[in-house]
Every structure is written in structure tokens, then in C-alpha cells.
């Protein structure tokens, strides 16, 4: 059976904020364009996870009447807090002393997954064809090397790679322009960056892992519209990270933690840091008596402008965090992702109508407010490589006094997979056992994500060298995959005295952390059969 193919004007890979904004803007600029959008999740929104305190700037431009269209953007930020946590104490930082980028009074507490569901409805009403459940698994190239489109994943392949009776070949989707909007560490975006050398002369990309839980809490502890961030405990001075807690509608709080993936101690477990964080008296008193109803995790971009690759190549564009447009000091990437998609749409229309080169994307991007924002934000994250305290002092000077206009740019020196030190040289960390009230283990957490992958399909986490985890990584780094994976996919098991590296790929929640942090870059995340992965609701 050969693959069928279908031609579109524009093929978009990924149904997050950037991909959907690209689609909507395209149809607004030219309703006659044929636009299709592929999404690997079983439905739009099911793989979306974000804080999220939302700045409406891009949405105001894209759909100015979003309020009339009943966008799920309802809970305005009413109050802000910033706490420094010690082990048991907390110190409240006055909000007037926060840099402007961290002030949120005009913003809204939203579920990005629900915003995406709504954006998809708007896109479909404009005639965009959206196909959830179909991951783009392969980039197709023209003879001249330009991008021709993508192919979707074959379905019905067994774990040994043979065709099952139910086999259905993938389909080729060809576009005059293909837009890659897979989000952070997109597996096709990663190939494009390499093939077209898009990160030439750029700093290595920086990542974080973000966790989120939704809690239904006691009415007396709930303050709709309250936004709270923390820094400090349980992380040490040398590890970059912090928490968020957003009080949303219906007695819910969105509680989360972000840890920079440039951490050095292989014994560190981001998941357990997050769980432990919840036991701090300042946090526990808010969620105590409540109930955890959702869990999830996803890698995010932290590199900023220094690490932002070139976003155009022959036949294709990168948008949103497939390139890396998140504004780290703002802890926001939705509005910049949307705007990058809107600029991409303008570029594509110029390209198709007036035959302009796709390279005008860069110029348009540089003239936009996204670039301005990212430029001002550029020195914050690298300054934290000096530690939390110096980072905060520098950020105060950079952001409050100079508003991001200091005449130099700090560099990111290492890729995240290069930062781990040998296990024997770093302190072991004893994490407390979960109490199943405030803190939980990974399996019961994954349970809440609704994650599944159909049985009998190839493992979608590929090892370049299958022996390496046991022969090298275990010895040197105590196989950190056991800890950095937020879903318990990786285990080292001892069977009859033999160590065995086990990959429970059905648990994978598509966060991509393994693909980023594995010290030898031995793990590659590829797309599983369509519809697999988490089924997030209001994340």
C-alpha cells in the first residue's frame, strides 16, 4: 500500500497557540488559502499544558472581539504575591519591587488547553481543516532540498515493526509552505534545525521542565484572581527554578513548578522537588483539605533570543517554541508564540501572493514587539548561572534600573545535557515518601493524565545505543532518566543480579525531557501512533 498525498497551500504541524494563530491569521488574510493543521493528540488541547497567566496582546490583535466570541479568558488577575521560601519560613517580596515584566495586573488566569480548543473552533469556522490524532512523523523534501511537506505516522505497526492486519499507511501532506509549530523540542523542528544549520552562531538552547497540578481547594483558602510565585526552597542556590500558584475559577488552583534543565546534580529529581515543595507550610496551608484533580509535565524553552534559531528555511517556517519564543523572566510564552505565528502567516501570504522570499520572516519578526520583549529579557536567565542570589541582584539592576537595555548580552555556555556532574561527586538527595494527600508518587500522578498508547506498537523512545544506559550512564550518573522523567517511563531493574534498563513507553506524557537531558543524547523521542499520550482536560 503506498501513501496517498494531498496538496495544500499551507500545512501546519501542531495545534498549540502558535500553530492555531498561524492558521487563523492565514485565513483572515486570504480566505481562499487551503490550510490544514495536524495535531498528534487525540483532540486539540489534550497535549497542552501551561501555567497560565495570559497576556492578551496577541489575542487582541488576532481576534479583537474575543470577549464577544466567549473566549475562555475570564479570570482577571486581582492580586499578586512573590515569596522567597526558606525551609519553613517564607518572606514576602513587595510587588512594587518586582520588575515590570513580572507584574500581571492586566493579565488573565486561563487554561491554555481550553484556549486552544476555542482557537481551534475559530480556525475551523474560518475553513481551516484540523486533523487531531495524526502526528507528522517525517519531513518530506523536494529535490532541491527545500521542504515539501510532511508525512503522517503509519498506523497499525506492531512492536517489532511489522504491519498488523489493521495497518494503514501514513499520508503525505504537501504545502507551498510548511509551518512547524510542535512546541518545545519538536521532533521535526529538531531535525530541521540540524539539517538547515539554523542554530549556527547561536547559544545552545536552554530548557526547563514544568509541572502542573490542578487542585480543588477549600473555599476559605481560595482567592480567585490571586497569582503567587515563589523562589528558593526546596531548590538550592545553584539550581534555577520556582513555583507558581494561580487561583482560577471554581475553587481551583493551578499549582506548578519549573526547574531549569541545566541542573548539575544527577541525583536531583524534578518531580520529587515539586512534590516536596507542596509540603512547605506556606503552600500546604492553602491546598490542605483540597483534592488534586490533574497532573502533567512538559519541557519548556528558556534560552531566549541568544538561543533562538533562524526561523525560516526553504519551504518552511518555525513558529512558537518549536523555535523558542518564550519570554523567561515573564514566565510567559503563549502571547509570543501566537504573535510569531501571526507574523509567519503574513510572511506566507507575501510569499505566495508576491513571491517574496520566506527570509522576510526574520525582518518582520525583528520589527515586532515580540523581538523587543525577548531582547530586553535576554540577560535574566543566563545571570542565574551565577546562583539564585546574584541572579536576583543582577536581574533587579537589569530589569528595574535598565529595563533590559544594558549594553551587553550574557551567553548560555552549555547545553542542558552537558551540565550533569558525576554521581559520585554530588550529594544524594533523600526525598520523603509520598503521603498520598499532599504528595504523590509518579504512577498515581500519571494515572490522572489519562495517558495511554495502544499496545503492541514500536517503542517511541529510541536508544541510539541500547547498552549505554547500563554500561555507562548508570555507573557515571546513576542513570538520571529514572529521576528526570516525570512519568516513570525509565527504570533500572535488577533481575537475578543483572541490571536491565526498562522503558515503560506507554506512560510517556510527551514532555520531551529525556530527549533534552540525556547526557549522551542517547534517547530520541519520536512520534508514537496517533492519539497516544496524555488526555489533558483543563491544563
Amino acid at each position: 500500500m503506498s501513501r496517498e498525498s494531498m496538496e495544500y497551500d499551507v500545512v501546519i504541524v501542531g495545534g498549540g497557540p502558535s500553530g492555531l494563530s498561524t492558521a487563523i491569521k492565514l485565513k483572515q488574510l486570504d480566505p481562499n488559502l487551503n490550510v490544514c493543521l495536524l495535531e498528534k493528540a487525540s483532540e486539540i488541547g489534550a497535549h497542552i499544558l501551561s501555567g497560565n497567566v495570559f497576556e492578551t496582546r496577541a489575542l487582541d490583535e488576532l481576534l479583537p472581539n474575543w470577549k464577544d466570541l466567549n473566549a475562555p479568558v475570564k479570570t482577571k488577575v486581582s492580586k499578586e504575591k512573590f515569596l522567597f521560601l526558606g525551609k519553613t519560613k517564607s518572606l514576602s517580596w513587595p510587588t512594587w519591587l518586582l520588575p515590570a515584566v513580572q507584574q500581571n495586573h492586566k493579565n488573565y488566569i486561563i487554561s491554555l488547553a481550553n484556549l486552544c480548543r476555542w482557537l481551534a473552533e475559530q480556525a475551523e469556522a474560518l475553513g481551516v481543516e484540523i486533523f487531531p490524532g495524526f502526528p507528522a512523523s517525517e519531513i518530506l523534501y523536494n529535490e532541491d532540498g527545500s521542504v515539501k511537506g510532511v508525512a503522517t505516522q503509519d498506523m497499525g505497526i506492531d512492536k517489532d515493526g511489522n504491519k498488523k492486519d489493521s495497518f494503514e499507511p501514513g499520508m503525505e501532506l504537501l504545502g507551498k509552505v510548511t509551518v512547524f509549530a510542535e512546541g518545545c523540542r519538536g521532533h521535526l523542528g529538531k531535525q530541521l534545525i540540524k539539517n538547515f544549520n539554523l542554530n549556527k552562531d547561536k547559544n545552545p538552547q536552554q530548557y526547563g521542565i514544568g509541572f502542573k497540578e490542578i487542585w480543588e481547594i477549600n473555599e476559605k483558602n481560595h482567592e480567585e484572581g490571586l497569582v503567587m510565585h515563589t523562589a528558593g526552597w526546596p531548590l538550592d542556590n545553584n539550581t534555577y527554578g520556582g513555583s507558581f500558584m494561580y487561583h482560577a475559577e471554581n475553587k481551583q488552583v493551578f499549582l506548578g513548578y519549573v526547574i531549569g534543565l541545566d541542573y548539575k546534580n544527577p541525583h536531583l529529581s524534578p518531580f520529587d522537588e515539586f512534590q516536596r515543595f507542596k509540603t512547605h507550610p506556606a503552600i500546604k496551608k492553602i491546598i490542605e483539605g483540597g483534592k488534586r484533580i490533574s497532573y502533567g509535565a512538559r519541557a519548556l524553552i528558556e534560552g531566549g533570543i541568544q538561543s533562538l534559531p533562524k526561523m525560516y528555511m526553504p519551504g518552511a517556517l518555525l513558529v512558537g517554541c518549536d523555535a523558542g519564543t518564550l519570554n523567561m523572566p515573564k514566565i510567559k510564552g503563549s502571547h509570543t508564540a501566537m504573535k510569531s505565528g501571526m507574523i509567519a502567516a503574513e510572511t506566507i501570504v507575501d510569499h505566495i501572493k508576491d513571491n517574496k522570499n520566506l527570509s522576510i520572516y526574520e525582518e518582520k519578526f525583528k520589527n515586532s514587539w515580540v523581538y523587543e520583549e525577548l531582547f530586553r529579557a535576554r540577560n535574566v536567565k543566563p545571570s542565574f548561572s551565577w546562583g539564585l542570589i546574584l541572579g536576583i541582584i543582577f536581574t533587579g539592576i537589569d530589569q528595574i534600573l535598565f529595563k533590559g537595555k544594558l549594553p551587553f548580552t550574557l551567553k548560555h555556555k552549555h547545553a542542558d545535557h552537558e551540565t550533569l556532574k558525576d554521581a559520585k561527586d554530588m550529594p544524594r538527595i533523600e526525598y520523603p515518601k509520598p503521603d498520598n494527600v499532599i504528595t504523590f508518587d509518579k504512577t498515581s500522578s500519571v494515572y490522572l493524565t489519562g495517558t495511554n498508547h495502544t499496545d503492541n506498537q514500536p517503542v517511541h523512545l529510541k536508544l541510539k545505543d541500547p547498552e549505554l544506559p547500563i554500561n555507562y550512564t548508570l555507573e557515571k550518573f546513576d542513570e538520571p532518566a529514572q529521576r528526570y522523567c516525570p512519568a516513570g517511563v525509565y527504570e533500572v531493574q535488577n533481575e537475578n543480579g543483572q541490571n536491565k534498563f526498562v522503558i515503560n513507553s506507554q506512560n510517556c506524557i510527551h514532555c520531551k525531557t529525556c530527549d533534552i537531558k540525556e547526557p549522551s543524547q542517547n534517547i530520541t523521542w519520536v512520534t508514537p501512533e496517533g492519539g497516544g499520550g496524555p488526555k489533558y482536560g483543563n491544563m
Partner: protein, 317 residues
């Protein structure tokens, strides 16, 4: 008003779940009349009359009732239904097949698979595969109810002497023809319906070691289950998997061996009547749901278990 209980039988004896259905029926109203439709079912009629909770047996006999087709049974029940406020049967394939056919003609909204009687019009029933329980109240004047047999004890089976009345049948429904029934001649009961399930987890350490589970299961006449971890490790095929993505089982006895008890597994077996956990990790979550926990090395405990079972004179099957 009285309750009309539809007995399930094989013309010779009552099917065991009829006794559970009688218990439920008597909780709704003491005046339980049991209807037995069959062919040459005298023995079963007598067994029914011997149930102390049954006040009257109504027997309907004809050749075309030999094979329990719903199309033939439903009109009989409907004809007799006038004097009854409730019509009850057990929610196994017999009752599930038959009751809605009665309810539709009586224009009553059936309540399926109840696990609890709150009052004569209010019942509890599981929804979403037992992940939630709904309390529902029927506003129909006549109520059609199927009961979950494992949620009600079997009633006393002897000592009663209810009168047996004969009633007339209804003309045969000729569009449906029974051909054959094959009892599945497996040495092992089906995982989904077994009375006892013995399950192994990753603690089994290999596929060969599942032999230890098989031996105990053979002795108990039990089905064999497994956790997803054991299936993924290739110890056993996935048709044995119990849990979120496998089967949901509700046996009388569930023995979990070398299973840590991840919530995904618990989702598939936590409604079992009695749970036994054998695990060497005393802190394994499985112990938090087990009625009887044995903290031990399974490689020692399973052979001992087999030996102890061999010492017993009788084992319920």
C-alpha cells in the same frame, strides 16, 4: 403490591445467582413471587419453592421455553406483570438480555445492575465501570430492575414450602431459533467472570515463574490475572491484564502476588469481595486495600500456599 422475581435455571436446577436475586427482591418487598418459565422444570420449581423468602412460585411450561429466549419469555412476564410493582432478575447475561425487552413494552425505564436497595423506589447502581455510584429514584409506577449478584448474599436455600401455581404461556415467537449452547470447556474460568483470580506482577521476575501462580490457580479453580508491568515485561500475554487498560474484575477472592498495587491496577480489582496481597515489600500500596496481607517472599509463599491448600478437604469451586 408484590415483587415478581424471574428465576434463572437450566430446567433441572436453579442457577446460583437466582438466590442472590431473591435476597435483593425481598429487600424491596417481603412479598416475593418467583416466576419460573421453562420446559420440564419440575426440579427447579421445587428448589424455588424451598427458598424461605419466596411466598409463591408461578410456573409456566411449554416446549418453546426450553432455551430461555428473551423473545419468548418477555410476553409471559408482561402478561403476569399486572399485579406486581417490581419485576426483578439478576444482571447476568440472562437478565440483561431479557429485562429491557419487558421494560420497553411496559413503558418503564429500567434500572440496571443495582448494588443496594435504599427503598422501594430508590436504588444504588454503579456507573462508569464502577468508578462512580449513582443513587437513582424511579418515577415509573412499575419498576424493572436487574441486580448485581455479587452485591447481595445468596438467600437461604431450604426450609421453605411456597405453593407452586401454574400459569398459561404465550404463543411462540418464531423469528428466533435456538441452535446450540456450548459450555466453554476450558480448565480455567474466564478472567472476567471467575469467582477467584490469582494475579502475578513484576515481582514474579520471569514468565517461567508464573508456573507458581498457575499451580495455585489450578488448585482453586481460579483464573489467572496479571499487572500491566508483568505484561509489559513479557511474562504473560495481555489478555490476562487486570487494571485501567485491561479487564475490570469483581471476583469473590482476588490474590495479588508480587504486585505493588499501582492505582492503575487497583482500578481493575478494588471492587473484589476479598483481596489478598502477597508481597515482600511491606509498604507496597497493595496492602492498603488488602483484607489479608502477607509480607513474604512469594517464591517461598506460593509453594507453601499450594501445600496448605492441598491439606484442605474441600475447596469451593
Amino acid at each position: 403490591m408484590s415483587v415478581l422475581l424471574i428465576a434463572e435455571h437450566n430446567n433441572k436446577e436453579l442457577r446460583p445467582f437466582t438466590l442472590n436475586a431473591v435476597t435483593a427482591a425481598a429487600q424491596i418487598d417481603q412479598d416475593v413471587h418467583a416466576l419460573i418459565i421453562g420446559n420440564n422444570s419440575e426440579e427447579a420449581q421445587k428448589a424455588l419453592a424451598a427458598l424461605p423468602l419466596v411466598k409463591k412460585v408461578i410456573s409456566v411450561e411449554a416446549a418453546h421455553y426450553e432455551n430461555f429466549t428473551a423473545e419468548n419469555f418477555a410476553p409471559v412476564v408482561i402478561k403476569l406483570s399486572e399485579n406486581y410493582s417490581h419485576i426483578v432478575s439478576s444482571a447476568n447475561t440472562f437478565g440483561k438480555n431479557l429485562m429491557p425487552r419487558i421494560a420497553a413494552i411496559l413503558d418503564t425505564s429500567q434500572i440496571s445492575d443495582i448494588t443496594k436497595v435504599i427503598s422501594s423506589d430508590t436504588f444504588v447502581r454503579p456507573i462508569y465501570a464502577g468508578n462512580a455510584f449513582a443513587t437513582v429514584k424511579s418515577n415509573d409506577s412499575k419498576k424493572c430492575i436487574t441486580i448485581r449478584p455479587t452485591s447481595f448474599e445468596a438467600c437461604e436455600s431450604s426450609g421453605g414450602s411456597a405453593p407452586i401455581e401454574k400459569a398459561e404461556g404465550v404463543e411462540e415467537f418464531v423469528q428466533t431459533k435456538f441452535i446450540k449452547r456450548e459450555e466453554v470447556k476450558s480448565d480455567r474460568p474466564e478472567l472476567g467472570t471467575a469467582r477467584i483470580v490469582v494475579s502475578g506482577g513484576r515481582g514474579m521476575q520471569s514468565g517461567e515463574n508464573f508456573k507458581l501462580i498457575t499451580d495455585v490457580a489450578d488448585k482453586l479453580g481460579a483464573a489467572i490475572g496479571a499487572s500491566r508491568a508483568a505484561v509489559d515485561a513479557g511474562y504473560i500475554t495481555n489478555d490476562h491484564q487486570v487494571g485501567q487498560t485491561g479487564k475490570v474484575v469483581v471476583p469473590d477472592l482476588y490474590i495479588a502476588v508480587g504486585i505493588s498495587g499501582a492505582i492503575q491496577h487497583l482500578a481493575g480489582m478494588k471492587e473484589s469481595k476479598v483481596i489478598v496481597a502477597i508481597n515482600k515489600d511491606g509498604e507496597a500500596p497493595i496492602f492498603s486495600v488488602a483484607d489479608y496481607g502477607l509480607e513474604a517472599d512469594l517464591f517461598e509463599a506460593l509453594p507453601q500456599l499450594l501445600a496448605e491448600l492441598n491439606k484442605l478437604n474441600t475447596i469451593q469451586k
